[in-house]
């Protein structure tokens, strides 16, 4: 055959083959793209491990703007796979939700941009807002999505008028960092003068008293009292030396504020002064759950708890110093620089620095008890769960629980110290807890879904041996025997 004809034939057939292959590939890509757009998925696990709960699905479906979830995990972290499964379920529920994983070690600048301090943090971005969650579980993600979508901005009021730290002050002692951090978390921050305004505004999600220098007037304290006992949420930061009606009022809830100063030998090791106690141990509460970063307080007073606590009040110590610290009462000697622990007068460590008061108006013998309409059941207060009460309870006619957090220092979140170790996060945790009212959406934890998961298998020696013999001996062995048999038969036929 002439070479020309042959090459022409090859050329025709070859281009034919090439084109048909291209066409076929195109069809496949098309089919794949259609399939990607319309996924269909069945979860065959007993407990429905890979299926979102009804509430989560509803909320995920309601997302109508792009939401990006960034997971800050180390590349090889096993927890990442679980979170990926979970996030994939959200993505399946709504295409608008996208997720990516970022390794903070490989992308420190990205982690720095989002202020990531801990592996396993998720950042949700969308609706021009941002939500950060430390615990990557379904409940947190669903709640964060819900908060992203919520138009309403919660208001945090900072009381002004008595020399408190100002939220617009950029000086060292100012609270401008606090303000911007809160605004990043989608709060509206305003200052509030209780002298000009009667009572705390209705729309307050939480009120902060940040280190007043002058005492409050009785009318102001009464406004605050009304607010808290009607289910309000108040954060009080009081520096050493402050006295007056506010301190007396707090005594009503079992908070004893002495005129003292906390001295911590340990903080010297950290490079601070004796007057900068460090907290590394936190109480058991939602606020401090999983929180394991040290916080530093410059010149703090002790926040002691009355024993027994008043009726209708539940007290949780959120932060306390190490046993090496004490609360010095002889401030004169302290000024001369020769303070030492005096067993008879000083309060020994660990010194409580922050206390949460949970107020049940139905049981509290104060003003609200006369208004308390319904007798709530005899349940004991649970310190570690904050959900399901507050707003939800109020809707059913129960008086809402009031919350009050008292810290013995206000400088720890000033512009100088806000970024120091865990100070800012601790503050934000407190405000988030106070302002959130309750966990918005409670997602039932996946149970074992019946008998089939969570079943232990404890083998006897004989059973283990049987499995070994069967799986490693009998089955592969029979294949070899079969092979030998075939070989012999074939040989005899030859």
């Amino acid at each position: 055959m002439p070479r020309i004809m042959r090459s022409r034939r090859v050329w025709t057939h070859g281009s034919n083959t090439f084109l048909s292959t291209l066409l076929f590939l195109g069809i496949l890509v098309f089919v794949v793209l259609i399939a990607e757009r319309h996924p269909w998925r069945v979860d065959l696990t007993e407990a429905g491990l890979y299926t979102l709960s009804e509430q989560s699905r509803k909320i995920a479906k309601a997302v109508d703007q792009p939401v990006t979830i960034k997971g800050f995990f180390q590349s090889a972290e096993p927890a990442r796979l679980e979170v990926e499964d979970l996030l994939e379920s959200y993505r399946l529920a709504n295409k608008k939700i996208r997720y990516t994983f970022i390794d903070p070690d490989r992308n420190p600048e990205e982690a720095g941009r989002y202020d990531i301090r801990q592996y396993g943090t998720l950042v949700l971005e969308g609706y021009d807002r941002r939500q950060t969650i430390q615990q990557a579980d379904e409940q947190s993600i669903t709640n964060a999505l819900f908060k992203l979508m919520r138009e309403e901005q919660k208001k945090i009021y900072f009381v002004a008028g008595h020399g408190e730290h100002s939220i617009s002050d950029f000086n060292q002692a100012g609270y401008s960092s606090v303000r911007s951090a809160l605004e990043r978390e989608n709060y509206a921050v305003q200052s509030l003068s209780l002298l000009q305004q009667k009572g705390v505004p209705e729309d307050a999600a939480a009120v902060v008293i940040a280190g007043p220098e002058k005492p409050y007037f009785q009318e102001e304290v009464e406004s605050l009292e009304r607010y808290v006992e009607d289910g309000g949420r108040l954060l009080v930061l009081l520096d050493p030396g402050h006295a007056g009606p506010l301190v007396d009022w707090l005594r009503k809830y079992g908070i004893e504020l002495q005129d003292d100063m906390v001295i911590d030998k340990l903080s010297r090791i950290f490079g601070g002064s004796y007057l900068m106690p460090v907290v590394t141990q936190y109480g058991l509460h939602d606020i401090t759950q999983g929180f394991n970063v040290a916080t530093f307080y410059s010149e703090a007073r002790s926040v002691q708890v009355a024993d027994p606590s008043p009726e209708g009040v539940h007290l949780v110590t959120l932060a306390s110093t190490s046993p090496n610290a004490w609360a010095e009462t002889d401030l004169e000697r302290l000024r001369q620089g020769e303070a030492s622990f005096d067993e008879s007068e000083d309060f020994p460590g660990p010194v409580p620095l922050g206390v949460l008061v949970q107020l049940d108006p139905a049981k509290f013998p104060g003003r609200a008890s006369s208004e308390g309409t319904s007798e709530s059941s005899d349940e004991t207060p649970e310190p570690s769960t904050g959900e399901g009460e507050g707003g939800a309870g109020a809707a059913e006619g129960h008086p809402a629980k009031g919350y009050l957090v008292v810290l013995g220092d206000s400088d720890f979140i000033g512009n100088t110290h806000f970024g120091l170790s865990g100070n800012g996060d601790f503050f934000l945790n407190i405000v988030n807890f106070l302002a959130e009212e309750e966990t918005l959406i409670t997602v039932e934890p996946r149970g074992d879904g019946g008998k089939k998961t969570g079943q232990p298998i404890v083998l006897t020696q004989d059973q283990a041996r049987t499995i070994l013999v069967l799986s490693l001996g009998l089955i592969p062995g029979s294949v070899i025997l079969l092979g030998l048999g075939v070989y012999r038969v074939r040989r005899s036929h030859r």
């Binding site: 083959t17 059973q463 799986s471």
Partner: protein, 258 residues
């Protein structure tokens, strides 16, 4: 599909007559036995500790702790084993010159390909069936979730069929069985690890997404977890069809290239 059965039976006969099948099956089942036994041993000791620790007890999950690791391990073994099953399909015929004979017989190319592919799939299914006694043991000892076991097996079957289709194509490219085996193993490995590029390319971007989609591992993982996802089934179907199509074109080209 004229001549399908005769080619199919001939192929099956050749496969069962050759020692390769028995060696491959032996190694596959031996490894399966080892994986299963060690997973059971781990689960056993975990159950023992869980008896004292309620948190651990809630973590006990037969699917996640026994079945998923075994399925994942088997998928890796398949990577090594599948090229051995397919390497001779066309390469052998090309070397011995019987491919031309096949062209002269009243068998269409398509039927011949279907028969050859069908035969290797059949042997693969037979080997896979050898792992079922282990599941029977599980049933005797506990109450495993058969739905997730089913999805794991479905995943393995789809994965195996995909591997075999690529193997058949590799075999049609060359006259040498070893070359065919190495070719298919290399390209399978490539498909296995291509998703890792995402780590280098960064999480976002169309190229990274495409490469991740092409990677075989991610699609198998959903099956082994106990999820049936239409997108993964479509992926495997497209994979299989594409390489069978390429094999067909390649075999045809043997005709006109002369």
């Amino acid at each position: 599909m004229r001549g399908f059965w005769s080619v199919y039976l001939k192929e099956l006969y050749l496969l069962f007559a050759s020692p390769i099948f028995y060696v491959v099956a032996f190694i596959f089942l031996l490894l399966n036995g080892y994986f299963f036994y060690s997973a059971m041993a781990f689960y056993n000791s975990y159950s023992f500790h869980a008896a004292q620790n309620p948190f651990m007890a809630s973590q006990l999950n037969l699917t996640d702790m026994v079945l998923r690791p075994v399925f994942m391990d088997l998928s890796i073994v398949l990577l090594l084993v599948a090229p051995l099953l397919t390497m001779r399909t066309y390469a052998e015929e090309r070397r011995s010159g019987t491919l031309e004979l096949l062209f002269t017989l009243p068998v269409t190319d398509r039927a011949a390909l279907a028969a050859k592919y069908g035969a290797v799939v059949t042997t693969f299914l037979l080997i896979l069936a050898g792992t079922l006694p282990c599941m029977a043991i599980l049933e005797l000892l506990a109450q495993p979730n058969w739905k997730t076991i089913f999805s794991g097996y479905l995943g393995l079957v789809l994965l195996g069929c995909a591997f075999l289709s690529l193997g058949v194509f590799a075999s049609s490219l060359t006259q040498n069985q070893i070359v065919a085996a190495v070719l298919s193993f290399g390209s399978l490995l490539m498909f296995w690890i291509i998703g890792w590029m995402k780590m280098i390319l960064g999480p976002e971007g169309r190229l990274a997404d495409t490469l991740e989609y092409l990677a075989i591992t991610g699609h198998f993982d959903t099956f082994s977890k106990g999820i049936l996802d239409s997108r993964d089934v479509v992926y495997y179907a497209a994979f299989i069809l594409f390489f069978l199509f390429l094999s067909l074109r390649q075999v045809e080209s043997c005709r006109w290239r002369g």
